[in-house]
C-alpha cells in the first residue's frame, strides 16, 4: 500500500525561527508536490519536485527531494505569521492517471 507520512503533524513556532517539515513516501515515484491549505480553503500548489536532488524556493519556503531516501523536506526560514497554514505533501499514484496520494498534513502555527 502506498504511504505518505509527514512529520510533525503539528508545529507551533515563533516568528523568526527556522524549521523543517519532513515527508516520507513508500512509492518509487520521483515526483512530489507540496500544497498549502488555509482553514476552510482550497489547496494551493506550492512546489512541484520532479527529480532527485530537485530544490525549489519561494520566499521563505524551500522544498527539496531525495528520491533515493524517498524523502522530501519543506524548510521554513525566518518564519512569519502569514505562513501559518496546513502544509500537505503528495505523490503521484502508481496508475496511469496519477491521482495524488496525500500525507496527513502539518498544521503550522506561527506566533508573533
Amino acid at each position: 500500500e502506498l504511504k505518505v507520512e509527514q512529520n510533525p503533524l503539528f508545529l507551533s513556532m515563533q516568528e523568526g525561527k527556522n524549521y523543517t517539515i519532513y515527508c516520507n513516501y513508500s512509492t518509487t515515484s520521483d515526483r512530489l508536490y507540496w500544497y498549502r491549505q488555509d482553514p476552510g480553503k482550497s489547496l494551493e500548489s506550492l512546489f512541484v519536485l520532479l527529480s532527485n536532488g530537485a530544490v525549489k524556493q519561494e520566499g521563505r519556503l524551500m522544498a527539496s527531494l531525495d528520491t533515493k531516501a524517498r524523502l522530501s523536506t519543506l524548510h521554513i526560514t525566518a518564519a512569519v505569521h502569514d505562513l501559518s497554514a496546513t502544509y500537505f505533501c503528495a505523490v503521484d499514484g502508481e496508475d496511469s492517471n496519477y491521482q495524488l496520494i496525500w500525507g496527513a498534513g502539518t498544521k503550522l502555527i506561527i506566533k508573533p
Binding site: 482550497s42 496508475d95 492517471n97 495524488l100
Partner: protein, 114 residues
Amino acid sequence: EPEVTQTPSHQVTQMGQEVILRCVPISNHLYFYWYRQILGQKVEFLVSFYNNEISEKSEIFDDQFSVERPDGSNFTLKIRSTKLEDSAMYFCASRRTGFADTQYFGPGTRLTVL
C-alpha cells in the same frame, strides 16, 4: 489566470437524498479528479476521469457515487443516497497532462448530511 470553479460552495442535505456537486475544470486540461477531505483530516482520492470515462477509482467511490462530464465544460459528482459519513469537503481538480503536472484545485463544496 484560469481557475477551477465549483458549485455550490455549501450544500446541506438530508440523509438518503441525492446531491450533485458541480465543477468546471480549467479549459485545456485533460485529466479530472474528485477528492474529499473530512474535517481536519487528510485529503482522500475518490476518482479520476480521462477521455470521457473513469480511469481510476478508490475504495471510497462505491456504487452510490457517479461522475459525468455532460458537456464540454462541466464535471459532476453525484451521490445517490447520502449518508452521514459523506459529510466532508469535496474538491475537484484538473490537470493539463497526466505526467508531472500540477493539479489545480477548486475552492471545494462543503457537504453537510443531516
